[in-house]
Every structure is written in C-alpha cells, then in structure tokens.
C-alpha cells in the first residue's frame, strides 16, 4: 500500500512541477518573444510614459427644434517629417513634389523645409483629415509620420460666425462665445501612466495610473438657426442689391430680451479664421458704433411724453423744412408746416424732434438716454461689446440736444438701439439681452447655467410706451417713412433712420447709414428687430434700403414663429369653446 501511495505522490509532484515549469517557460516566452522584452537592457529601456488624455471641448448648439450643432471638435492628423532620411537618400525633391501634389501645397516651400541641414522635425501639413493622412502614409516616404491633433470645426462654415467666434491653434477661444465661455467649453485633461515595452507599446496589464479627462460643457444658444438663416440671407441680398460696404441685423424676443438672430456682413469662415481680415471678423451688431439718425427719435419723444412735456397730440411748427438753431441750419428731408407729435414721428421731422428735445431740456434728455442704455454696454454675453458714445450734458454745446434728438452727436451699437426700442415695445421695461440659453455638462446633462430674462430698469411708464408704440405703428402706415416694412400678415411698428457718416470731421453727403428698427405685432409685440446697412448706393435712406430688408426677414419669420395678428386672434379654452 505504501509503495503504491508513494509512487502516486511522486507522479503527482512531478506532474505539478512539470506543469509549473512549463507555465513559467510559456510566460517567459510571452514576455521575451511576443512582448519583445529581450533582456536587462531592454527592460531598462521599457519605461513608464505619461500620456495626456484630452478632454474634448464642448459643443455649441442652436435653440431651434433641431438643436443643430454649430461647433464641435473633430480628430485630425498632423503630417510630420524627419527630413534626415530624405536627405541621406537624396529624395528631397521627389518627396516635396509628391507631397505637394497630394496635399495641394507649394512644392518649393516644402523642398526648402526638407532641405534644412540638421533639421529633425518639420510639419508637412497640419489638421488634415484621417482619410487624407491614411493616403499619405501609403506613399511610404521615408521619415514621414503622423501625430494626433484635434481641430475646432464649424460644420456650417460662416454661419453665425460672429457669435460663435473661433478657437486659435492652441485650442483657446479667441472671439465670440468661444472666448466668453472658454472656461466652460474647455474640458479638463486627464493622464494615463503607462509602462511601455521595448517596442514602445503599452504593456496591457501594466497600466500604472489613469485619471480620466472631463469633456467641456455643451452650450445652447438662444439663436434659432432658421431665424438666423433668414437674417443672413436677407443681409447677403441687401449687400448685393445696394452695393453696401457692410450690413448687420439683430432679432430679439421683446418680453425676454433673448436674441434669436445676430448677423453681420462681411463674414468669415471660422474653419479658416487665419485667412480672414479684422474687418470680416468684426461683429458689427455689438462692436461697431454708428450715429443712429432718426431711429433715435422714438426714444426722445418717449422721454418727453413720460415727463409730461408733450402729448401725442401736441403740435409743433416744423418751419417748412428749414430752421436755424444756435445759428446753425437744421433741415427736414421734405418740408412740413405744423405737425402733431404723431405726425413728426410718422414723417420723421428733424425740426419737430429737435424742438421736442429742447422742450425736454438737456439734463432730462441725458438722463433718459442713459436710462434707455445709451453710453453703457448692454451686458450681452459676448466679448467685444462697445459702450457707444454719449457725453455728459455739461459738455454739450447749445446745438447738441437738438442734434442728439435726431441721432447725431451720439453713437450707439445696433444692439443698444434695438434694446432701447425693445423697452418701448415691452411696456417700458428695459431687458438685458442674452444669447446663452443654457450650459449643460457633457454626459449626464447636468445644468450648469441657465440664461434667464432680467429686467434692468423701467425708464418709461406703460402708458407712455403704449402711446409711442401707437405712433411708431403710424410710421409703417401710408404716409409714413417705413411703409416698405409693412407686412401682409401682422401689423408692424418701427422707425426708419438715415445717418450721415462723419468723414474727415464733417458729415458726408455721399456716405450714409440706413437703418430700420421695429417690432411686430404692433399692438402686442413679440419680436423686435434692427437692420443697418452701411453706405448703400445709390439709394441710401432707411425707408428705401433697410425697411425692405426688415420686411424680407419678418414676413417668413411671422409664419415660422406662428405669430398671430391680435386683430384676428381668437382665444380658445377647452372648457368654453371659442371666443373672439
């Protein structure tokens, strides 16, 4: 019995030891042959490597029903080269020719780059698509290698370019929302500490440490891509039709102050920002100040009515088109005799409005203008906003108040002007315009920020606002200067403006800024909008140039936003059926 048991144990031990030794030999084979760790020298070479893990930049989305993506990060490759093998094998000119053909580059520039003595590294082309990079590697040129890179991509090209801005090559937002919300959009990087084998591949089961990256937050704008598209198309048409130097427009929701569209021409493609000029990159809606001309008149008239100095029925002598004040002449576009305040607004009489401003007095005029937001930034969540120019009344000459009343001697941005008119349309409440609807964390969608309506102040009463709205409605009626902005579907209230541009310290007789600012429906405003066309030719008045652009945008906008004219509106409740 003992002999048989001993043999059995011996065999078992032998078997186990054979299995263990075989296993260890197999492991050694895997380490030395498959993983390539040949010996102590290779083991020393195999070292830990800290790989940066990039936290992707967040997306920017529009607020329309599609929530379409306006900006996102995409993977690209940098094609790089170590020129030494090319130089050794005398392949510089051939490689330069082949690469130039494949990548649409200048062959001479490449040849110079590849011929630099002692150079170990040069970019051939940066941010190429993965397919293009694959094609280049198949050329099998010596010294060519690829590096991972990421690029900010704007799928719709120049669409909404001034609001979105762009990201520079270091991945930092450099204008627009990309700049303003850079800290939220930028993700936090992670790190992976890897142990590499002699082939510099990560040994799969030897990962030392990993901190995962956090992607940047997604930003949803208040911009609706359909509205934006309507505005951009209309501006493109206006630029072409009127041979204009520039054009810009902003559309805003009256009750909330949220911006539905903001466009400026000329524009640029954010994907190729490097080739754009400063003029193209300027967001004129907030970054360009201009003398608003007659679009300023509703604000001055609202101030005078609010102070009880005039009523819509008050009558002023418009001096048949020529009036001297402080020894300087003031002219109307067409001569008028005695006009009521409503008619002054409708016919855009400079003389009538100047007299109203004098009636109001300089301190009050300045106070109201400041309360309407002139001379200070609106606080919209975009960088590069100008504050405009409004000097304190102590520095005004005797002429100033009569000229400020007609939009000269004061400079505003389009957004400031729109926001002031918006206050009139909103029962006197001045809203803070905003363009960011919400910011959500990528992945779990946690809300980090929500843009909400914010009342800044109330410069005029609801009654004053209603009276001025009624007067502005008359501007688009027959006999008014803004007839071209009239819509078939809903009533429009607004004001035209034609500003003479100052050239070499004098008002030019050839360079004008045509503007129209308005809102609809006139009785219960929902949308307000401003259109400005810079140096249109040959027609140059706000009524002839900007008002038709306003109409071109507003007509489809009314249908898209399903805005009803209060005159034909029916109210229905499920309980009591329909009632007029």
């Amino acid at each position: 019995m003992r002999e048989r048991g001993g043999t059995w144990r011996f065999r078992l031990v032998g078997l186990l030891m054979t299995a263990a030794v075989t296993g260890l030999l197999f492991r050694l084979y895997m380490l030395h042959v498959v993983a390539g760790v040949a010996g102590p020298a290779d083991l020393a070479r195999g070292r830990s490597y800290a790989r940066d893990l990039r936290g992707n930049r967040g997306r920017i989305l529009e607020s329309g029903p599609f929530r379409n993506t306006l900006a996102l990060n995409v993977d690209r490759k940098d094609i790089c080269i170590d020129p030494r093998p090319l130089q050794k094998q005398d392949l510089v000119s051939r490689a330069a020719r082949v690469l130039a053909e494949e990548l649409d580059l200048d062959v001479d520039a490449l040849a110079v780059r590849f011929s630099r003595p002692g150079s170990q590294f040069a970019y051939v082309k940066r941010f190429v698509s993965l397919e293009e990079a694959e094609r280049i590697t198949q050329l099998d040129l010596p010294g060519i290698f690829l590096r991972d890179s990421v690029v900010r991509h704007y799928p719709l090209g120049s669409f909404l370019c001034h609001v979105l801005g762009f990201v520079n090559w270091q991945g930092v937002g450099s204008s627009g929302i990309e700049q303003r919300l850079n800290s939220l959009l930028t993700g936090t990087s992670g790190v992976r500490l890897e142990l590499l084998d002699s082939g510099r591949r990560e040994i799969p089961d030897r990962r030392l440490r990993e901190v995962l990256p956090q992607p940047g937050a997604d930003v949803v704008l208040t911009i609706d891509q359909t509205v934006q598209n309507l505005v951009e198309q209309a501006l493109d048409d206006a630029m072409q039709e009127h041979n204009a130097r520039a054009a810009w427009a902003v559309a805003q929701r009256v009750r909330t102050g949220e911006i539905l569209a903001m466009a400026s021409r000329p524009a640029f493609d954010g994907n190729e920002f490097i080739s754009s000029s400063e003029d193209q990159r300027l967001n004129r809606a907030i970054g360009k100040v201009f003398e608003p001309g007659s679009v300023m008149k509703p604000v001055v008239i609202a101030a005078a009515i609010n102070e009880g100095r005039i009523t819509p029925a008050s009558v002023f002598d418009c001096e048949n088109g020529l009036w001297y004040h402080a020894r300087r002449p003031l002219r109307d576009y067409s001569p008028h005799g005695r006009l009521s305040v409503t008619e002054i607004m409708q016919k855009s009489s400079n003389i009538g409005t100047a007299k109203i401003a004098l009636e109001l007095g300089e301190p009050r005029l300045e106070q109201y203008l400041r309360e309407f937001g002139f001379g200070s930034r609106t606080g919209v969540d975009l960088p590069g906003e100008e504050r405009g120019i409004l000097h304190p009344h102590r520095r005004w000459s005797a002429l100033c108040s009569s000229r400020i009343a007609i939009g000269q001697g004061v400079a505003t941005t389009a957004l400031q002007m729109l926001n002031a008119i918006n206050a009139i349309a909103n029962g006197g409440y001045l809203m803070q315009p905003y363009i960011v609807r919400e910011v959500r964390r990528h992945g779990d969608g946690e809300l980090l920020y929500r843009g909400e309506p914010n009342v800044l102040r109330r410069p005029i009463t609801a009654r004053t606002a209603a009276e001025v709205m009624a007067m502005m409605h008359r501007v688009t009626e027959p006999g008014g200067t803004g007839r071209a902005a009239r819509l078939d579907s809903v009533s429009v209230a607004g004001k035209t403006g034609t500003g003479q541009k100052a050239v070499d310290g004098r008002y030019s007789d050839t360079a004008y800024t045509a503007a129209f600012v308005g809102f609809f429906p006139a009785e219960t405003p929902e949308i307000s909008m401003i259109v400005v066309v810079d140096e249109p030719k040959p027609r140059y008045t706000g009524g002839a140039v900007a008002a038709p652009v306003f109409r071109q945008i507003a007509e489809p906008l009314v249908r898209y936003l399903d805005i009803a004219d209060p005159a034909t509106r029916l109210a229905r409740t499920p309980q009591d059926g329909f009632s007029e």
Binding site: R2, A19, N68, Q225, N229, R559, R569, R572
Partner: protein, 120 residues
C-alpha cells in the same frame, strides 16, 4: 506476523516522498499555476481594455463624422439647396393653412387664427 514484516520491508524499496513535503510542493505548484492563471487573466483583461479603448476611439470618430453629416443635413441653407436640386419650391405656411389639433384634456388657452374658416 512474519508475513506482515516482510511486506513492510518490500514497501520501503520505492521512492519515498514525505507527505508534508508533497503537500508543500503541491501548494507551491498550485500557487505558481494560480499566479500564471492570474497573469494570463490580467493580460487578457488588459488586452480587452485596450481593444475596448481602441473601439471607443473608432466609435467616437464615427460619431463625430455622423454628427458633422447630420449637422450639415439639417442646415437651412443645405435644405434649400436640396429642395432646389429637386425643383421643389417650399415656404412657411400661413396660419390659415395650418390645421390645429388640440387635446381637450389639457387646460390652457390657445391663440389661433383662421379657426372660423376651418370650423365652417
């Protein structure tokens, strides 16, 4: 008695391995095999992880690609181009052209236009 002693002497002739040593060797061998199994498992899991990471990168790139295509498809300008390509002229409907369906159980007020013509 004598028979028994003779048999015992015979059994001592085979290779003698003490039981504690056998147990020790068995434990070591089992430990070694377990270690090898663990190594293999870690290696396998590491490779799976790497493959999953590579697959994630591929999927992310595909997602990016599809996101781009989708964003372009939904761009109003491209929709217009597509409509033009097929000779389709489309515009936003007027309020009179819209038929509205309401849920009578929902308590809220609607603002509608043109219902009179629809109700006739």
């Amino acid at each position: 008695m004598n028979r028994t002693r003779r048999r015992a002497v015979k059994t001592r002739r085979g290779p003698m391995v003490p039981i504690p040593f056998t147990v020790f060797i068995a434990l070591v061998a089992t430990g070694a095999l377990f270690y090898l199994w663990l190594c293999g498992k870690c290696d396998q899991l590491g490779r799976m992880l790497q493959e999953a990471e590579q697959e994630q990168v591929v999927l992310q790139r595909r997602f990016q690609h599809e996101s781009l295509k989708w964003a372009n498809l939904r761009a109003p300008e491209n929709i217009s181009v597509s409509l033009d390509r097929h000779d389709l002229t489309m515009g936003w409907p007027t309020r009179e052209q819209i038929v509205r369906l309401y849920d009578v159980n929902v308590e809220h007020t609607y603002s509608v236009v043109g219902l009179r013509s629809n109700m006739r």
